[in-house]
């Protein structure tokens, strides 16, 4: 009887020891609680906790309470946080070459996007590592559209609008300059106010974000052809990741890829639904004339060249562009 009691006690002690969480990844995101983004991160957290027997988990700071992406990046670099959800501007500070994914008119559909992400995965992972981070998974923001208050039938019409550009984003600024537009730089939090006062009358964003930010209430048109595909990723400090035992690293990465690709899938779905809601709200979806399309595509090419040396090498740009072209040819041939 005594032996049984002892064994049970010992088992209990062992169990409580093994379920004590040893690694808590402090993770921050701008996404508020109850959003798709947050919900899937919670699923990721639950999966990691389960598979690690409770040794690994996330502490999620949602809704941007710890500041914007750049503030989160600073907090990770000083060790207050370990991981974050990032988009273009902050990713560019970590791994400039990744921003090639955000450049204008590179992709025409999600198949092309998926193909390039896959083909160049190792390059991008390496770039993040050089910047001190490990990629837990891509969490794409989605195709970015221009919203205006006047109809835009050709690239020249864009010159007459007062288009916003995100202060401090070289990719957007270069893209618009290549189209011959002089955009007006405004800090992100001031966009809605600037639309209200008329300082700007046009902006660019994925449709889902347009609704979340209520910017769509300040536009009459959305241009159907996207100008770019906004990248997003969940990154963890390499210094923290390297301290994790190999089995936990494996659990974290495998589930990261799985759950974050779910975020990408749901974000694409949300963007599609958002366009319906935008139409319901009274906006007109403006089609780009087939004849005008090459003008945009050429502008995109020029913009990408203008960023050589600043974000990536000419060689890398050429290899990505060629991969897109090849994929396009092959998918046309197979149709």
């Amino acid at each position: 009887m005594k032996t049984i009691c002892l064994t049970a006690l010992l088992a209990l002690i062992l169990l409580s020891h093994s379920t004590a969480q040893q690694y808590t990844i402090k993770f921050a995101t701008i996404a508020p609680e109850k959003t798709t983004w947050y919900n899937v991160m919670k699923e990721y957290d639950a999966a990691v906790r389960k598979e690690s027997g409770g040794r690994l988990g996330f502490q999620i700071y949602a809704g941007g309470v710890l500041g914007d992406e750049k503030a989160v990046l600073r907090k990770i670099r000083v060790g207050q946080l370990h991981a974050g959800g990032f988009t273009g501007v902050a990713m560019g500070e970590i791994a400039p070459r990744v921003r090639i994914l955000d450049t204008p008119f590179l992709f025409r559909n999600y198949d092309e996007v998926d193909h390039i992400y896959k083909q160049f995965e190792k390059d991008f992972e390496q770039a993040f590592q050089q910047g001190g981070f490990v990629l837990l998974g891509w969490a794409e923001v989605g195709f970015v559209h221009v919203f205006t208050n006047t109809p835009v039938n050709k690239p020249d019409d864009l010159k007459r609008i007062k288009l916003w550009t995100w202060e401090g984003d070289p990719v957007a600024e270069t893209a618009f300059r290549a189209l011959g537009i002089s955009p007006i730089p405004v800090a992100f939090p001031d966009v809605l106010t600037s639309l209200q006062t008329g300082l700007i009358d046009a902006f660019y964003t994925p449709p889902y974000a347009a609704i979340q930010l209520q910017w769509h209430t300040r536009a009459k048109y959305m241009i159907e052809t996207p100008i770019s595909d906004a990248a997003g990723a969940v990154l963890i400090a390499k210094s923290y990741f390297d301290k994790l035992p190999a089995d936990l690293q494996e659990i974290l990465l495998r589930n990261g890829r799985q759950y974050l690709s779910k975020i990408t899938r749901l974000a694409r779905e949300d963007n599609r639904k958002a366009i319906e809601q935008i139409q319901k709200a009274g906006l007109t979806i403006q089609k780009v004339d087939e004849k005008e399309l090459p003008l945009y595509i050429e502008a995109g090419k020029r913009a990408r060249r203008m960023l050589v040396g600043r974000l990536y090498t000419e060689e890398f740009l050429t290899s990505v562009e060629k991969a897109v072209e090849d994929f396009r040819k092959n998918s046309k041939a197979s149709q």
Binding site: P32, E33, K34, Y61, V65, K75, I211
Partner: protein, 290 residues
Amino acid sequence: MPRTTLTFLLVLGALGTQGCIQTLAIRSVGGILDNGFEVFNEETDLPLAENALGSNLKLLEALIKGDPDNRQLLMLASQGYSAYALAFAEDEDEERAKLFYLRGRDYGLRVLSQNKAFRSAMNGDAAAFQQALRSFSKSDVPALFWTAFGWAGYINLARTDLEAFAQLPKVNAMMEFVLQHDPAYYYGGAHLYFGSILGSTPTALGGKPEQAKEHFEKALAANGGKFLMSYVYYAKTYAVQTQDRPLFESLLKRVEDSSLDILPEARLPNAVAKKKARLLSERVHDFFLE
């Protein structure tokens, strides 16, 4: 004995008394129920209030079936369902809360839809909707407030429902109307609404913490600092977004330390505020870096 009277009248109705008598009877019940709500709001025991409110809401719905355009009954149902969602469902079972908030909204919409301009603009765009709101006056504030309250409560929980979220500008417009015509209504409720909206949006996405603070201070001025839900939302939104942990803790402590008798007619909402303040302080590690 409002309950007994109500049941009696209901039975009378069910027995097939002539239609007009039934309607008359139900109309007189409205007043009784109105006092009934006062009794609920004075209750400090949450389980008792939950059970009683739940059964009375069903009774109300039965009465509405017999008198579907009765504004007073519809208003009580709107307020009752939203209050039930906020007090007894939101922190326990979000799916139930969503359902009840929608009922609260929809009963309110039935009142507002008696206005023709509103009815035709309701499913239109935000500009037409805003235009239609101009046909309302100060006496419509309660209907607008409780409809918007239920609607916002639903949107807040159903963040993955994009279609619902896209309607937020309409809810804002309704609350804006309340703010302009009767800012002190329901303990400064419209100020609490805008304080929460502006205070919970991250500054990086256009949140306005200073404006949020002003709204909270105005709400507190309107209710003399006695409607404890004000402190809860102040802590949950503004204090968290500005990362002011001492403020967060002092606001919640204020709720904890306050007596339920500081505002006898709001004992129930204040007891609910105490519950929410406790839940919020248990989650402090989700909001502030240790």
